[in-house]
């Protein structure tokens, strides 16, 4: 967490992120991100065409990821997978397909409206091996050594305490478990007039 942030600033960041993703949940198909989303985003990031074609358009349209965490390694049938910041659940549903009926996937998101959308998409697909719940990356509600793999797509950049979130991810992974992240990172220094703005967290 940024040591110079005050408690009111932290609350403003958390509220701003929640409001932004409430809007994303309500808007349905993307359109509020500066990179390709939906089916086009998945195709550009190399998601398997075989997977893309089994998902209905309304599920594909909800994809707002910044990359393809599945390109970092394979999931095996029977794996237990955690999707941190699952949003509308597209990556969770991809994972559920990959781990098969003997595996299980948990999608976790801080925004209740996104979790509701994810559950609707799950119902549309009829997958029984995936569960969605509300929760925070900095306080994962799971026992130690629960998951074979953790995926996440565009979420850790929004966490206020990245070290705590990474510690939690490490805690809930089984020994040998894999962390496979797609996320936004800084590639250029923010101008001074932007660097201190609380609004940068959720714009």
């Amino acid at each position: 967490m940024s040591p110079e942030m005050t408690e009111p600033e932290i609350q403003k960041v958390q509220q701003g992120i929640k409001e932004k993703y409430d809007r994303v949940a309500a808007a349905g198909s993307g359109g509020c991100f500066q990179y390709p989303t939906g089916k086009a985003g998945m195709e550009l990031q190399g998601y398997s065409p075989e997977l893309i074609k089994i998902f209905p358009p309304e599920v594909l349209a909800a994809f707002c990821g910044v990359g393809n965490p599945f390109s970092l390694g394979s999931l095996a049938p029977g794996d237990a997978v955690l999707d941190i910041g699952c949003g509308a659940g597209v990556d969770s549903l991809v994972a559920a397909h990959l781990v098969g009926a003997g595996g299980r996937v948990m999608g976790l998101d801080v925004t209740p409206a996104m979790v509701e959308r994810a559950r609707a998409h799950q119902a549309r697909l009829g997958l029984a091996n995936v569960t969605f719940q509300v929760g925070e990356a900095e306080a994962l509600p799971f026992p130690d050594a629960t998951f074979d793999a953790i995926i996440s797509n565009g979420v850790f950049n929004l966490t206020l305490d990245k070290e705590k979130a990474l510690n939690e991810a490490h805690r809930v992974l089984k020994p040998g478990g894999r962390l496979m992240l797609a996320d936004m990172v800084l590639v250029a220094a923010l101008p001074p007039d932007l660097g201190d703005k609380v609004e940068n967290w959720f714009q």
Partner: protein, 72 residues
């Protein structure tokens, strides 16, 4: 946060074989870009492998915003 700083945090909390594997080309601003990061939790008795890699940013795949400026 820059990718190298995030990688350092991954190593600090105990991940090994940690690396920024590549950039994705998706930009949410002129200052941020998608990246793929990987790490593993050590198996007891396993030797650490702290070799981290970091690729150069990929060419931009920036799309004109169709709504308000956004990010993730």
């Amino acid at each position: 946060m820059p990718g190298k700083d995030f990688l350092a945090l991954m190593l600090q909390v105990g991940f090994h074989r940690a690396g920024l594997i590549r950039y994705t080309g998706f930009k949410s601003s002129p200052y941020t870009e998608g990246a793929l990061l990987y790490g593993e939790k050590l198996v007891p008795g396993q030797a650490r492998d702290d070799v981290a890699s970091q690729a150069e940013p990929a060419p931009a795949l920036l799309k004109e915003p169709t709504c308000e400026p956004g990010g993730t």
